[in-house]
Symmetry: C2
Subunit: 127 residues, 2 copies
DNA sequence: AGTTTATTGTTATAAAATAACATTATGTAA
DNA sequence: TTACATAATGTTATTTTATAACAATAAACT
């Protein structure tokens, strides 16, 4: 259980409190009062947080969310559903999918280290 | 079977001939001699080609590949394996995965229109 | 204490994508 | 064919996202 540095903690807190995925420059504008002034400071913290599995990047949106799973195997296996109407992003509890996809990869002779799955559609509220 | 416009055809040909995913600005620099001079021309063609299912975007790389499937349901269901060493990208023939994931989504009460799955690891050559 | 390694601060720039608006081509219907 | 609508193109400028490069601090290790 790795301890976060100051910048990492500040940036994690903002992402974790947010109800929606945050973009790097949105984060930046929200932490400038705390002394984090430039993009590299944000991106460096994001990179580390991703490495630690504390946050994930939603690739299709260039945005970042806190991990909801604590069990997604240090960010080696991530799955999300993304509402195309309200933009809500939900991390899918991935034990079954994960098992299925590992199995699939093994049979296919793929030596994968990581996967990311993104579903797009309508959430319960919006459909 | 929709017919491509001039710009769409030029850009599709380049992507289709390429053995690796191409980035938008790489494409641009390769078509300037053919009169396509500015980013919007490239991005517009890319958008249409994606809509038609002729190409896919590899979200994690901001790069584009020609569809290898002709059966990926007009780009509603895409899956790739990506080599982290040589950058090779292979489109996974997705009928089984597709069936499994549709099923999963249905059970979860998700009304999804589309999904994208990206595996990262080492290809056969590199492992 | 001295050395190495990780993190931070800072400026500048690169890379990816879109906004806005004018122009031309294509399809459709009278 | 002409008139109208729709789609595609051309063009300039700008926005958004991400990284390079290098100096300064802080933390960890011997
Ligand atoms: Zn997670
Ligand atoms: Zn919604
Ligand atoms: Zn395909
Ligand atoms: Zn490889």
């Amino acid at each position: 259980m790795q301890t976060l540095t100051r910048n990492q903690q500040i940036i994690f807190d903002i992402i974790n409190k947010s109800s929606e995925p945050l973009k790097a420059y949105t984060i930046l504008s929200n932490v400038q009062k705390k002394g984090i002034k430039a993009p590299p400071q944000v991106y460096r913290a994001l990179d580390k947080l991703i490495e630690m599995g504390k946050i994930h990047k939603i690739e299709s949106k260039n945005a970042f969310v806190a991990c909801q799973n604590s069990s997604c195997n240090v960010s080696k296996a991530t799955a999300f559903s993304i509402c195309e109407s309200c933009e809500e992003v939900t991390e899918i509890s991935n034990s079954k999918i994960s098992k299925y996809l590992s199995n699939f990869a093994e049979k296919a002779g793929m030596e994968y280290k990581k996967y990311n799955l993104e579903f797009f559609g309508l959430c319960k509220k919006c459909k």
